[in-house]
Symmetry: C2
Subunit: 270 residues, 2 copies
């Protein structure tokens, strides 16, 4: 039993897809969320900058003495998990491994699609992980650089012509390739689930990386006897820019009012 | 006569629209450009963060002992010019004033359109400036939050369906309002000139804020006897993320190879 909190971070809102699942699976855990809204998006930046920002994000979360940290960000998981794990003496969970496992377990025809930010796709991390688990799978990958700016601007709903056009452009080659499984390799993308589902069709299974990572982390913490085992855990949210914009979108997304639980910090100091 | 360089900065690529004009008007000046590509875009961030980043940008440029600084960024000009001018004992030029003057001098029917980032429009700075110059003008303003992410992703050319759809959505109300002048209130937007022109039609005059700011600054420096009066001035480029991506897009935009002249710096240290 370990009463300490679990830290969760992302470049912005996307990691809430992992947090929502964690809240459902582990309602008794205290969760500390950090969204680096003052520097979002990460996915178009270089590996070096991503690593620098991620180190600051982890340093901030470590100030709460967490028992584990979840990198609820595809871009950071794909580019910096190795370094962050080596540098920190606590369990750090990324989204790439669990997503690759889920894809390998899901596909029937051996054709897996992968979408992510430019930095995630460029890293090749998902492909390497899938190749190790199931060398015979074919992976078709596509960077989707406009998806995060669209989601961060609150534009992710079906009927939004711009989002639908961008989704059609990005996904059409994957649909043509005949994938039966699509890894949403960025934690922002589950907010686009309906739009992506429209383009891909009902026969394609979408893998929500935030959610599968949350499941993986919950199981690992349980197995190691690290859960808190209290009734209800507190949830606190921190951002590096205005709390209002975040609270509004996060509230809609999580289906609860988070207004009073969001605080602002200066991430550059960590 | 003053041989010192002129500093120019923006959140990313957009300020090159001012730099290009400066280079044309003042070929003998040494120009130092900084693009904060590690933290772009600025336009969705809060005023407080914009001011903090802008102070660092100015501090970096001041390390070259410039004779003047040009804020080639609509978002920073609209949100931080007053503070930056008060805090620095050298001429600092923003884009808002010159753009407002150009709009007032251009409109025939008294209806001026204004587009900019969310932070620029929210500031009300352009409207205040226009109201002072020409109180009877009607200003119709629209935030265009997706334009900067589109441009920074290299998507600004006519024929790009996504850009055309976004432009139609943002600009249609301004076209309907019957404006005869449109202020491109962000220095990224001149890269979208052809797309914006298509939507607005040939009867609407587009005001390129980067270019009018460059003209204004060149005249002011000339009037104060601060020009360098050499044949050709060196141009150096600094960014806060990868130099390659910047060099590629900047090279296309400026029509010259800038590869060897781009250096990377850590802006957080300033």
């Amino acid at each position: 039993m370990d009463p300490r909190p679990i830290g969760v971070f992302d470049s912005g809102l996307g990691g809430l897809t992992a947090l929502r699942e964690l809240r459902r699976l582990l309602p008794g855990e205290e969760l500390i969320y950090f969204g680096d809204t003052g520097r979002v998006p990460y996915g178009g930046r270089s590996r070096e900058i991503i690593l620098r920002y991620a180190r600051q994000d982890v340093a901030f979360l470590r100030s709460f003495d967490p028992k584990a940290i979840i990198i609820a960000c595809g871009t950071v998981s794909a580019n910096a998990l190795t370094e962050l794990s080596a540098e920190n003496d606590l369990p750090i969970f990324g989204v790439v491994g669990p997503a690759a496992q889920a894809a390998a377990a899901t596909t029937r025809n051996g054709k897996v699609g992968l979408i992510g930010t430019a930095a995630s796709i460029r890293s090749g991390a998902y492909e390497r992980e899938i190749a190790q688990l199931a060398p015979r799978l074919e992976v078709f990958s596509r960077p989707c650089p406009l998806f995060v700016p669209l989601v961060e601007n609150g534009r992710f709903r079906p009927g939004d012509q711009v989002v639908e056009l961008v989704a059609e452009e990005y996904l059409q080659p994957l649909r043509s390739a005949g994938v039966d499984t699509l890894v949403l390799g960025c934690t922002h993308y589950p907010l686009l689930r309906d739009v992506v589902g429209q383009v891909m069709g009902p026969q394609v299974t979408l893998i929500d990386t935030g959610a599968v990572c949350a499941v993986h982390a919950a199981r690992a913490l349980e197995a190691q006897g690290l859960l808190a085992r209290r009734e209800t855990g507190q949830r606190r949210y921190f951002v590096s820019d205005s709390t209002q914009d975040f609270a509004r979108l996060a509230g809609i997304f999580l289906g609860e009012d988070v207004e009073g639980s969001v605080e602002r910090i200066e991430i550059e100091k960590y």
